[in-house]
């Protein structure tokens, strides 16, 4: 059997993994975006408690390898009575880990907005909430979009880490097939090509966004 015949044998199993990879990526992006935004807004308020919580959280998360965070959530949490499926643990772990990076990105976008505009907005009676919604966010989103695209690509690739806590996503499926067939060459070539095929459209999208928002 040549490469393509063997590839055709493995593909159905790998595609099951692709589906889980996409699910993990999608929900991790959602969760990390939401949490990252929360940390960034907390850092933006002048409330010292909120600022300290946000800073502390981001610092701790960035200092621990993602794979260790995943192990912690999947293997340690049950000991304190929190039982999660591997999938849930994977999404929560990646989401929390990446929220720290997203927060830095959002914070940079928020802080890039000229303070004078914020004062002007306050001077016409806007509350902080309204300033955020009407003045900061519409402008910050342009600044934040290109790095956001890169973050999605990184989450897609790092979703392979959840294979270590038994989620049968693409990498895990590849490992299982390779272990039973010893056909490492075909299996991991396919796995690599599939990741590439998934990330390339995102790469082009990110480049497009960079171009579009740098003109505006």
């Amino acid at each position: 059997m040549g490469f393509w015949e063997r590839a055709a044998d493995y593909l159905p199993l790998l595609m099951e993994g692709v589906w889980l990879t996409l699910v993990v990526t999608f929900f991790s992006v959602l969760l990390s975006t939401f949490l990252g935004f929360v940390w960034a807004v907390m850092a933006w308020t002048r409330n010292p408690v909120l600022v300290a919580i946000s800073r502390g959280f981001v610092t701790i998360i960035r200092g621990i390898p993602i794979i260790v965070q995943l192990f912690y959530i999947y293997f340690v949490m049950p000991e304190i009575g929190i039982n999660l499926t591997a999938m849930q643990a994977g999404i929560i772990g990646l989401g929390i880990a990446y929220s720290a990076y997203q927060a830095e990105n959002f914070r940079a976008g928020i802080e890039a907005i000229d303070k004078g505009q914020i004062e002007a907005a306050h001077s016409i009676g806007m509350t902080d909430q309204l300033v955020m919604r009407r003045v900061i966010l519409p402008q910050a989103i342009r600044i934040v979009m290109p790095p956001f695209g890169n973050t999605i690509i990184m989450i897609l690739k790092d979703s392979s880490l959840v294979s270590t806590i038994t989620v049968a996503e693409l990498t895990r499926q590849g490992q299982l097939i390779a272990a039973s067939t010893f056909d490492n060459m075909t299996v991991f070539t396919l796995v690599a090509l599939i990741y590439l095929a998934l990330s390339l459209p995102l790469t082009f999208l990110t480049r497009h966004l960079e171009k579009r928002y740098s003109q505006a």
């Binding site: 000229d114 004078g116 505009q117 004062e119 002007a120 907005a121 306050h122 001077s123 016409i124 009676g125 806007m126 509350t127 309204l130 009407r134 003045v135 519409p138 402008q139």
Partner: protein, 244 residues
Amino acid sequence: MIQVHDIHKSFGTLEVIKGVSFEVNKGEVVCIIGPSGSGKSTILRCINGLESYQRGAILIEGAKVDPAERSITDIRTQVSMVFQRFNLFPHRTALENVMEGPVFVKKTPRAQARDEAAALLDKVGLGAKLDVYPAKLSGGQQQRVAIARALAMQPKAILFDEPTSALDPELVGEVLTVMRDVAAEGMTMVVVTHEMEFARAVADRVLFLEGGVIVEQGPPQEVLRNPQHPRTQDFLHRVIHPME
């Protein structure tokens, strides 16, 4: 209508306002002049709650200005501010800049706010620039949009923080003319400025501030033409004859 009682303000250990008191009556135009670093802008920013102050009190029609209180947003809808660097919202057109406050703060219906904003822009001579973004406007035009934005809140007073200091000389006149017209309609105004000509022509009262205290105050013809205090004399001399 604006009462400033014995305000003290420090940045760290540096005391920039050392007990300033004055009142501004309804319809009055008060110009604050003085050397840079004298605390002029800081006082203005305190009145609008953009800065806090450590001692004393500022009252707007009896309501205390305290940036830490929720009431501050209410007070700010009554007292608008025009900034040295215009501070327009760059992602919104001239018209949208002016509508922003009425629509989102005062909840004016959009159509009505639009008509009023267009009328205001027309009044400041920008009726042809409604849909233009700030980046495409000159400094003088941007500042006139900013004045229209302040007027759109139908405030009881407007604070001007060196509104012409960031402008090229040939653009100063168009902004001062608009301000004079606003004053003529009876708007209460506090203007921090270096434009002595404007102060002379429009102000009811001039305050000369130096080192965080009011050194001298009175009608412009007295303070500007016949200053009593040597420091006022020295300052005016340097402003009028900068090369000597």
